[in-house]
Symmetry: C2
């Protein structure tokens, strides 16, 4: 039985609490939350603490708080020489305080509180200073996910930036599509199968093979029609810069 505790009550922390609370082979020992009520529906109340001095040493302490709080929270931990990880995509393992052995447990996924996720399909990116700690982290990761990767801090930083493009910026493309539909009284729902197919294509084709559209075809007539149609200056600017980027990409190949 691997004993672990989770520090945090946000999006990622809540998903991890629910996950590890029901994983065979894992004992969820404690949850730290400044506001006990935030997690009181996820874990028995006697396991929740809002006082760092009450945190007990366990096999694995997971700090799942916002990036700017990770360093200070790791300093607050009352014990030493135990294994402590953070869950951030963008911060180096070194961000953690030196008094404990360090590692990273980064689930590469977009979490929304209002939507359930199937953890089995989420890639977990692991890093640890110590070999034995790394093995423990792998054991834990493989209990909950089918895809476990070893990723060092520099690679993880690259992944995190790439994830902003393929997820956050992609969702913003959906947002702009939605705005254009609303302005012209067309249901955004018409676009949903296209959104699904665009994501599905990437499972079997490379992004450059999957690229279609007026920019890919260098169809300047359609591009100009679109630019004339767009009234929002921000939409227009984004259309121009991304069209140019797709055209320039074609030249590189």
């Amino acid at each position: 039985m691997i004993r672990l505790s989770i520090i945090g009550s946000g999006n990622v922390a809540q998903h991890l609490i629910q996950l590890f609370g029901k994983t065979a082979g894992i004992e969820l020992v404690q949850v730290f939350s400044r506001n006990k009520e935030a997690v009181s529906n996820l874990v028995p109340i006697q396991k929740i603490t809002s006082d760092f001095s009450e945190l007990k040493p366990v096999d694995l302490t997971i700090i799942a708080v916002s990036d700017n709080a990770i360093e200070s929270v790791s300093k607050e931990i009352p014990f030493e020489n135990h294994f402590v990880v953070h869950t951030s995509g963008s911060l180096a393992m070194e961000t953690l305080d030196n008094k404990n052995r360090k590692g990273v447990f980064y689930p590469l996924q977009t979490f929304s509180k209002s939507k359930e996720v199937d953890f089995k399909t989420i890639p977990l990116c692991l890093e640890a200073q110590d070999k034995t700690d790394h093995q423990l982290l792998q054991t834990v990761a493989k209990l909950v996910s089918d895809t476990v990767y070893n990723v060092d801090s520099e690679q993880r930083k690259a992944l995190h930036v790439a994830a902003v493009f393929v997820s956050n910026f992609t969702n913003h493309m959906y947002q702009i599509g939605n705005e254009i539909c609303e302005e012209n009284n067309v249901p955004f729902a018409i676009l949903k199968p296209l959104i699904q197919e665009t994501a599905n294509k990437i499972l079997t084709l490379s992004p450059s093979e999957a690229q279609t559209g007026p920019a890919k075809r260098k169809d300047t007539q359609t591009i100009n029609t679109h630019l004339n149609f767009l009234t929002d200056e921000n939409h227009k600017e984004i259309y121009k810069i991304l069209t140019k980027s797709i055209i320039d990409n074609g030249k590189k190949l």
Copy 2:
């Protein structure tokens, strides 16, 4: 039995030829292709013509050629007073020559020759001048798709622009993510579940509800870390403009 012919041999034409060749209630009468070999594996050779004067009048003639050829091809049709449609998202119905009755049959999907699509899930956007023609077009559309919409030329133009954002530009975000992974020796495959989940979220959440990431959180520290990490000036510029756009969007709400 509805008798129809298809003009064209490109991506969309090939998908339509295969589709209507096997649809009960539809007789695929002729296929026009300048190069007969391009479609000779899709349809019996005696149905293929490369001579416009051989085209016979049918219930529905579908012009599935590139946007800049639609007008001239519609002039080449040897018969008059029949129902002729194009399949373009960006061109008005009026682009077609006046000698025949006009309409549009626009499948809103991204077609790659190398990937099969399930037509049943593709939204078909229909328009016709004549009421009886419109009914015929609806009958044909409902034989092959579960989602059929009536969309006028102005709305279709909006949809086409929106589709560029949610599909072409989204795929370009995948492309950039791929480039960042390659530059840093991380497998792009790690990002694929995130890409799927980002597309799936949009089925149940609005794009603004689904938005996550440093720009949404106005997390300037992470944004600056990312900008320092990016070495490609084009990636950097796109990161900046899309981050600004997400932040400005947050202010509007």
